[in-house]
């Protein structure tokens, strides 16, 4: 793990990985859209609205996947002071928030015709809304300090506290029997969903994962550049002040 803590090594590795991730994103998105819009049947109960599922469910998976990764990074950042872990969490947050937003909005657009309501304070919907606020809160917190190190530390603590929400989201549909349906793909005994609908779902999930990897690599690269900018600016400011004192001291 620590072999990847070196930003220079990360930059080399990311330059190697990025073309593959970007290519996979494009190919899987085209395939996924083909499957979800053309080559899959309408549902016998929900008609064509089932096509919203191919966006909604992968976005929901990503919202949990990204958060869990950020929380793991936060633990690494706090325990081992791993500098790239902090940067990864910060870089991933807007992407996770984006997926959570897409999940909430598409869920609303699906709920309106199928449930007859845009929103209910159902356990699943409410816990996902809390996840969205956790993302926004983390993003606000890491940027709220003059010293980025302190901001990262506070943000990491928030991420670790907020991880309790992840199992609550996962099991909310089993613990509270309200409007949102229980899991039909990730469950004991295999998926209870027809292969013609499982294929677009999994391809879209792959596309979203590849998208996340591509964008997070770019964002970590940005964060590393910004760290360097900050160090250079501090060095310039400190260098001038340090020079002055040495010079004056020599003269005096």
């Amino acid at each position: 793990m620590h072999r990847f803590a070196n930003p220079a090594r990360f930059l080399r590795l990311s330059a190697l990985l990025l073309p593959w991730c970007a290519g996979a994103t494009v190919i899987l998105t085209i395939l996924g859209l083909w499957f979800s819009l053309f080559s899959s049947p309408p549902d016998y109960q929900q008609g064509e609205t089932v096509r919203i599922m191919y966006i909604h469910v992968p976005a929901a998976w990503m919202s949990l996947f990204v958060y869990t990764n950020m929380a793991i990074a936060a633990a690494c950042g706090l325990v081992w002071k791993h500098p790239l872990a902090d940067l990864f969490a910060k870089a991933a947050a807007p992407i996770g928030a984006g997926f959570t937003f897409v999940c909430l909005v598409t869920g609303s657009l699906w709920g309106a015709p199928m449930w007859g309501t845009w929103w209910v304070w159902d356990a699943r919907l409410t816990s996902v809304l809390i996840l969205f606020f956790l993302y926004l809160g983390y993003m606000a917190l890491v940027n709220a300090f003059d010293d980025p190190q302190r901001g990262m530390k506070a943000g990491n603590v928030l991420l670790l506290v907020g991880i309790v929400n992840v199992p609550i989201i996962k099991f909310s549909v089993d613990w509270w029997n309200t409007l949102h349906q229980p899991a039909s793909v990730v469950r004991m005994g295999g998926p209870s969903i027809d292969p013609s609908m499982l294929t677009p779902l999994l391809v879209m999930a792959g596309a979203f994962t590849a998208y996340f990897l591509s964008v997070v690599l770019l964002r970590v690269r940005t964060e590393i550049a910004q760290r360097k900018i900050q160090t250079l600016r501090l060095a310039v400011a400190g260098g001038v002040a340090g020079d002055g004192t040495v010079h004056d001291g020599m003269r005096g």
Partner: protein
């Protein structure tokens, strides 16, 4: 084609769902790309400015002392 766009009467729900997902994901990508370009340009400018400053630091020291308003008398006294 129009039947496809009609989406069995649910066009008003399905197309916005795909539209918003596209908008959010593309928007994030563009913002990320611009941020990276910006940061790399700033970094490049700073890195190219630094050696220059180092070179001129000794030559411009006398001038810098005066223009920075450092109390030269205080250190001499």
């Amino acid at each position: 084609m129009s039947e496809f766009l009609h989406m069995g009467g649910y066009a008003a729900y399905i197309w916005p769902a795909y539209g918003i997902a596209t908008l959010v994901l593309l928007g994030l990508l563009v913002a990320t790309w611009k941020g990276l370009r910006n940061a790399e340009a700033t970094l490049k400018a700073l890195e190219s400015a630094r050696p220059a400053r180092r070179r001129t630091r000794n030559a411009g020291r006398k001038m810098a002392d005066q223009s920075a308003g450092r109390p030269a008398e205080a250190s001499e006294g």
